[in-house]
Amino acid sequence: MAMTMHVDIVSAEAEIFSGPAHMVFAPGVMGELGIMPRHAPLLTRLKPGEVRVRTPEGEEEFFYVSGGVLEIQPHSITILSDTAQRAKDLDEAAALEAKHHAEQKLQDQVSEFDYAQAQTELAEAMAQLQAIQKLRKKLGR
């Protein structure tokens, strides 16, 4: 029987593939990689592209990855796939947006409807109204 290695393809939100394979093809940033069992340990980033897994039954399975990290150990391969499109400037934009959110929330306290505060104010107002009504009743009679 030919040698196999264990392949795991996972993304942060789900497990995509787990099982034995004869050979795996993956799009590394330096070029396409074809990996067979007993490969030297290797760690590389992946480009968006197709991962092909040749199973012991001789079938080929295809997966699309939008980037990620590939780890090779002699008898196992782990592909940590990204779920989102990643690029330096995209990440930068997301970070800026998060910062912007925080600043905005701090600044315009008026437009941001703060439920907790509104609730306490409402409760206070209601208590005052009740007190006034009670007073009125007392005075009225």
Partner: protein, 287 residues
Amino acid sequence: MAVGKEIRTKIKSVKNTQKITRAMEMVAASKMRKAQDRMDAARPYAEKIRNVIGHLAHAHPEYKHPYLQEREVKKSVGFIIISSDRGLCGGLNANMFKATVRAMREWNDKGVRIDLCTIGTKSNAFFKRLGGNVIAQASHLGDTPQVADLIGVVKVMLDAYDAGQIDRLFLVYNEFVNTMTQRPHVEQLLPIHGVEDPQLKHHWDYLYEPDAKDVLDGLLMRYIESLVYQGVVENLSCEQAARMVAMKSASDNAGDLIGDLQLAYNKARQAAITQELSEIVAGAAAV
């Protein structure tokens, strides 16, 4: 009959409230199941990436990444605080804030400044009132949070760490123990420690493509992101579980209240009937 009109309306209103709380309980129960599935689905990635980093810690690369090196806390630390977006989930958020404030006070006593990153509207509102220094914020992640929503906030904190503005990074979220129990959990994200894998003893190193720095940067960033994502998903399960329990007890309390009111109403009605009867009898006797 005009007897006990106030009580009757009160009973009706409590019944309506009970209907709502019961519906919310059932919605939370089904959402909790889904959130738990999502939590399980996220686990393999976290495990695998932890393994890879465990290998890395033993691989002795020529390049030591700053995330893996302990460093002195000089002036400030960072906290990422994950809360729910909505209330009506018992003491879930309040307990977590208490734990966070306790952890923060320890640093404050040492004269260390604290930078905050809040995920979820509740934590944002709370720490804004408290006067914390919130430098990044994300909210409205919904029932299906995605890693893409978290990249930005995590990057703000990682950049601050890279720039030396913060020397430690902590993550606070609710840990899902079971449906009845959720525990606030403060975890150190950076520097990374405790991922040693004792099985591999001999010294070796990976081949890196294109180079060690590039690969490690990407990998460690994803690791932190996956931990934060895990926290968000776990917190979501906690939120639904806590809401389910809170709504169940609210429905039960409403039931008790209705029982008491019903009793009071029946007594009042009986008293009214008795009174009317005695009036009629008295009237008949007088004739």
